[in-house]
Assembly symmetry: D2
């Protein structure tokens, strides 16, 4: 991989990303969870109940939702950011949420602790460059058909701007089997862990599109060497306005948090 500045040839030591008291990488394993999109305060109260007292150390959730159809629910906007912030504060954990366009960067920065750049925007280079100038950690998701090399170049766009507080997230690639929305690519995780200093986490919710696969794939991600797992959870997935099929319900979430924590500890990680 020629011309990549942030590879093991150049930077020998793993970068630890610090978000308040939450740490990711170099032995610190991250559990991140939350709804696909913020819907209303009642839903977020339910999320708060679910996450309270668990090892989840980062709240995820979308206020601006990039949706395939212009006629689908597009998110609550700033109202959603406020609900996310309140929930994170009540849980005393930091918040990651997506910046869907450069024009929302300032607004989202006022509420979020970590700026997420989504799969559709992995190659939105102006956004990447500006994210590289922010004083906040960035969570960069791999494009749905991006090679590992293209993913690393996207990371360089951020890091070259001076922001090395960067978390990479594998979230599934497009493939031919209609049984799954995407195929989780743990091959990529093994390669990323060897050649980049940035922490690498995995999103098995998008990586499969099926709630019944999330636990097994979360455990697999941890075993493959990932530095964390980020999933979608919902008090009542059947009524979710987006991504209900891949969201864990409260019962499944409890099993997930327990088993994933236990495995991570067995693997020598700190939770």
């Amino acid at each position: 991989m020629e011309n990549l500045q942030y590879t093991r040839n150049w930077k020998q030591k793993d970068i630890v990303v610090a978000i308040g008291d939450t740490r990711v990488g170099r032995g610190d394993f991250l559990l991140a969870a939350g709804p696909c999109s913020v819907e209303n305060s009642r839903q977020m109260a339910g999320i708060s109940d679910i996450l309270s007292g668990t090892p989840v150390k980062l709240l995820r959730g979308g206020a601006f939702k990039p949706r395939t159809s212009p006629y689908s629910f597009q998110g609550l906007g700033e109202e959603g950011l406020k609900l996310l912030r309140q929930t994170a504060d009540a849980l005393r954990i930091p918040l990651v949420t997506e910046v869907t366009d450069l024009k929302y960067l300032e607004l989202v920065s006022r509420y979020a602790d970590v700026l997420q750049i989504g799969s559709r925007n992995m190659a939105a280079y102006e956004l990447l460059k500006e994210a590289g100038r922010q004083p906040k950690p960035v969570l960069l998701k791999r494009g749905m058909a991006a090679t590992v090399k293209e993913f690393l170049y996207a990371a360089e766009y951020v890091a070259a701007g001076g922001n090395e507080q960067l978390i990479l997230c594998e979230r599934g690639i497009r493939s031919f089997d209609p049984e799954f929305r995407n195929v989780l690519d743990l091959n990529a995780v093994t390669l990323l862990k060897r050649i980049t200093p940035f922490p690498v986490i995995v999103d098995p919710s998008h990586g499969s599109g099926r709630a019944d696969a999330v636990l097994a794939l979360s455990l697999a991600a941890a075993a493959a060497g990932a530095d964390g797992v980020m999933i979608e959870v919902h008090p009542s997935p059947g009524t979710a306005l987006s991504d209900g099929d891949q969201s864990l319900d409260p019962d499944r979430f409890r099993v997930w948090a327990k088993q994933l924590s236990a495995l991570a500890r067995f693997l020598g990680k700190r939770i």
Copy 2:
């Protein structure tokens, strides 16, 4: 394809896109050509010589280049837009060039006759929505791993804003064979032609990544029912700053223009 407003169920008649005197769709076949990126005035003079007196009715070329690596040539910016405008004016044909981010929309609009939204931005919904409010035609390229349905939804983002002067462009999808940069998907063209009223053109330069495949694939695109073909050409592909492998040299270009025009006329199209 539920919820799509711009399908044959709703709009029965093909939309013709008019760009000055150039027309695309409903029997008018478009030849578009130009360099991948503008490099300097000497190169553009060469382009002018190549295109002069040919049936090419739209100049293409990039001033802002979205490049995989932050360390690759990124385009000349506004200086490039000026050179493109001068070349188009000298040739008396309109100009299409890419808007890589919403923040460049106003600047690019001052120079371009058609606003191109590239593959990497097919799902940049804020950009699509704003393009839908512009008084200029839009050329929307399919994402490299977008389904036809997702492509049509992206088109809806533009059209829903009121701008029905929209050209769709198939430019190859990602696949497994390293012989080609992408695989040109003419299946998609046949489907698009049946269910959308927008003109559909094909870019076999990106659709193959190989200059030696461009002529044959251009002819194939015309035969498959496309409303036009857009290619990359360069006075000296071996020295091009980007995409040299897929750019036609002047000799290949002449054969291409002649054979493609002849085939399009045989198929009953106006050139």
Copy 3:
């Protein structure tokens, strides 16, 4: 492509495949058609009516059907071969049919003029080697996820046995869009035509899985440089025991034969 004996570096001249009076390659363009599978004598009489007096010069049809499910119709076996032979004789054109396993090679050889090796068997090397020792032309279909290089190596398995009467057939590759069963890969056709001496034909029926795409893709294949097109046709596609969705009905077939012949002639081919 190292180690390939049958590339343009070694054999400069196109190989013409001769099947009785039918010729394929070096300017002779082949139209091949027939049902997916032989069902009964009434269906075959219908096929005979459809093909009679048309430029179709090769009858295709399956007697041994490799089906994904063991519970689907598996073909009529030798009874089917007899019906195919009778139909071909009545039409005075040669017959191609598939050898699904080495153990059927002798039986199929008694009836067929051309031995087809299907996509699922492109890497059935024992079958390929034995086909290379037969005194009959072989039609080798590309595997559904085979690279061009793997396809050419499979061709070498046949040719290395001494049988250079070999036709290659592109029939679509697996991809991510559920709209189509496969994506027809005309990029591969352009590459094959430049580097292999064997005639290359295209199967747009399997290459799309949709009857409404077959005509446009057939024209595209001819324009891309293919030496022929092979399609599925059925007197009554709605009642077909296999592949009804991709089979042309008699009306569509007539338009197909007429338009494809006209285009091939325009391109300078003999029909």
Copy 4:
């Protein structure tokens, strides 16, 4: 998945495959290892040294090698089967080796304890049907572009013949990133474990093509719920006649056996 007889709707209980004293499934976790192809007695003595005293309970190795190129090493044939048998006997573990064609079935059966059907032959239905009549367990590998549904139908071809002693093996699917030979599809493993009663093992050697990814992917497979892992090992990978890049050397093998056993035990499996 309509018409599948061997799904959880029909057969509620996991099938255990018994190979001598080795058991796979329902809590018994299998470690299988051996060379890609048998080369000579010195190599096999090296293999014996490596595997001796480890938890590996099944020897793998190829005597008939299906190779992409007819000019590559094709395996030692019966001589290779003899060497494999001797090695397995010396190690007192059973042997799995591939039947590449129906015509070798009887010969291979004389030496092997488990009959492997390789990826290229997943849809070789005559071979599958005959394997269904054998008195020996069958190890069926997923085709490189087969959907889970197609894989299950292939399993039905075997089981419908009466042989329910069947192990399914995920070994990677074809994708777009040239960094890896294949992408290991653990999504498929999670789905197979829920809907089929057959044990499911994983081959991360072919699933990545890289020795440096095998350990991490083996652990991931176990964590995802697989019933075993099968890998390639070689006394001196740099000199291997096939698949050297993906074969573990003795040092890597020791770490692999130790860490995988420990993880499987942590997950509650018997080794």
